[in-house]
């Protein structure tokens, strides 16, 4: 089975060069070939309906991090704000 690498890469916000495309296609087709060997399973009974994930309750915490610390790793900061390219024309 062939995977449309360009389409999937776009969904994942990746840019794959044309020169690399065939390598990705052939590797992905090998991997899909391997995983296609999985058997069909009608074990829906294995799904335990009562075992829903327990979510943590939202709670306020005393965040000790300062604005300066939080912005320390940002690639571009102006006046205490993260700068990104224009999003709305």
């Amino acid at each position: 089975m062939n995977v449309d690498i360009k389409h999937v890469a776009k969904l994942a916000r990746l840019k794959i060069d044309d020169s690399e495309l065939s390598r990705y296609e052939s590797e992905m087709s090998d991997i899909i070939g391997m995983v296609e060997s999985m058997p069909d399973i009608d074990d829906e009974w294995l799904v335990d309906e009562n075992n829903a994930m327990e979510l943590r309750k939202d709670e306020l915490s005393d965040d000790k991090l300062s604005r300066e610390q939080i912005l320390k790793n940002a690639p571009k900061v102006v006046a205490g704000c993260v700068v990104v390219p224009k999003t709305v024309d």
Binding site: E27, Q69, N73
Partner: protein, 485 residues
């Protein structure tokens, strides 16, 4: 004998008795690092000055008569995907090359509060994706037993540092075998704890339903010592379980009389090297001589586990790694033309090939039209694998298998062939899929002098039984034999 050659639990005793100081011990490790690191390349970042300060702090506290933890003054290396406040945490990726966390992972806070000394951050496959540590953006770590060979992965730096005595202990992370497989290839002991027993707060996520932090050491006692220090509930990790964790270190007796050892035939198939199988079985026979009993068992879905693993792990990775977009932290491409251009170029330039391959696979199996055929099937297979383990554990106490199907391979040998590389994980992925604990212990050497590992799998939260079985094995097999470097 040099100080760095002693086991961590011995160093702990020596420190307690005042025979050595924490500074002497830490200096001994940094001298060792100066001597061999250029050959092994285990570290991405060294924490020399801070390490010596922490050691001095321990010495001061001890001099003032304060009661200290067993880990006080013990030099420990940390895998570079575990957050350390003020020390770069790169995940061996260009994406996080300059990222310096502003908080500690819970495990790091625990170690620091016990007075452990952090030696530095250890190399790994980028974002923990790989089985050889060749996917690191920065360097290739070498196997201390043969510098032309890989140390395994993804926690290859952790395994190599412990094997080369560049750290007394180390922390790694294990999503599909990333602690056990490098431990096996480097001749050390590595434990993947039960899912939920150790907090992952501050671990950079790869596949959140499988990821687990765990310890490396040069003997079973050392691994138990570190496991005891990191286990326990943490409200910052919603998957960590509230329960008492009794000391595994104090429970090690080496008594295996009556222990029922399951041997699953599926783990001794054609994909596993014959010498590896023979050395695992020989080790099991030794345990039988000490009173254990063997029981043949079957885990029929094992053959499909690798497929289920790569689907689940990559699906989760494609979602987890969406956060690396060049906005708030990490790498950002040069002069982005638009927001989309910034996302795409940042991610394409910041991630390496294996990471991109897995994001593409994960995005594909979750995409419309393919979800049922791949992801849902894999999740059902996961339930079946869990069920098979649960049934097996009704009749046995531990399950013994090879850890890696082969000895350490040459650098470059498998890196161009993803499927061949993925096959390194065939014996280890099931454990993550089922959330079980498993330990890898050295159990033999190939004709090339490279270590083999035996994997002992246990019931959920029963680290005690597998570590005790591993300890009994170690008493027969002998402890760590240091490679010549």
């Amino acid at each position: 004998m040099k100080l760095y050659e002693y086991k961590a639990y011995e160093q702990s005793e020596m420190l307690k008795k005042g025979e050595i100081s924490a500074r002497e011990l830490t200096e001994s490790y940094f001298e060792r690092i100066d001597e061999v690191e250029s050959k092994v390349d285990a570290y991405i970042t060294l924490n020399r000055e801070n390490a010596l300060l922490s050691a001095d702090d321990v010495d001061k506290k001890r001099a003032s008569g304060e009661a200290l933890d067993k880990l006080a003054g013990i030099p420990i290396g940390i895998k570079d995907n575990i957050s350390t406040d003020g020390i770069k945490t790169t995940c061996a990726s260009k994406m996080l090359e300059n990222y310096e966390p502003v908080f500690n992972a819970t495990v790091v806070n625990k170690l620091k509060s016990k007075g452990a000394v952090i030696t530095g951050k250890l190399n790994m496959d980028e974002f923990a994706m790989g089985s050889s540590t060749e996917n690191s953006y920065f360097k290739k770590t070498k196997n201390p037993f043969d510098l032309d060979c890989v140390p395994g992965g993804s926690s290859g730096g952790s395994a190599a540092a412990v094997a080369a005595c560049e750290a007394s202990l180390a922390l790694g992370s294990d999503t599909g075998g990333s602690i056990r497989q490098p431990a096996s290839l480097c001749g050390v002991v590595g434990l993947k704890p039960t899912y939920g027993s150790v907090s992952r707060y501050g671990l950079v996520a790869f596949a959140s339903s499988l990821d687990q932090i765990g310890p490396f050491g040069r003997c079973v006692k050392d691994v138990a010592l570190l496991q005891d220090a990191i286990a326990g509930h943490d409200k910052m990790d919603a998957t960590s379980v509230k329960m008492d964790h009794a000391s595994t270190f104090d429970s090690l007796t080496g008594d295996v009389s009556g222990l029922r050892i399951g041997i699953p035939k599926e783990y001794f198939g054609s994909g596993v090297n014959d010498d590896v199988k023979a050395s695992v079985m020989q080790s099991v026979e030794e345990l039988v001589k000490k009173g254990a009993v063997i029981k043949e068992i079957s885990l029929p879905s094992t053959d499909y586990a690798l497929s289920a693993y790569y689907i689940i792990a990559c699906a989760e990775a494609s979602s987890n790694l969406a956060r690396f977009d060049g906005v708030k932290y990490g790498y950002r491409c040069d002069k982005p033309k638009s927001l989309i251009d910034m996302y795409e170029r940042t991610r394409s330039e910041g991630f390496g090939r294996e990471v991109k391959r897995r994001i593409i696979l994960g995005t594909f199996v979750l995409s419309s039209g393919y979800y049922d055929a791949y992801y849902k099937k894999a999740k059902l297979l996961q339930l079946r694998i869990k069920d098979e383990f649960n049934r097996a554990f009704e009749g046995v106490d531990v399950i013994a298998t090879p850890t890696s199907p082969f000895e350490a391979f040459k650098i470059g040998e498998k890196v161009g062939d993803p499927l061949s590389m993925y096959s390194a994980d065939i014996c280890t992925v099931t454990v993550n899929i089922a959330g079980l604990p498993a330990v890898s212990v050295p159990c033999g050497y190939s004709k090339n002098g490279l270590p083999y590992g035996m994997q002992l799998i246990g019931r959920h939260f029963d680290e005690k039984t597998i570590l005790n079985a591993a300890y009994a094995h170690e008493m027969c097999f002998g402890v760590f034999k240091a490679p010549k470097l």
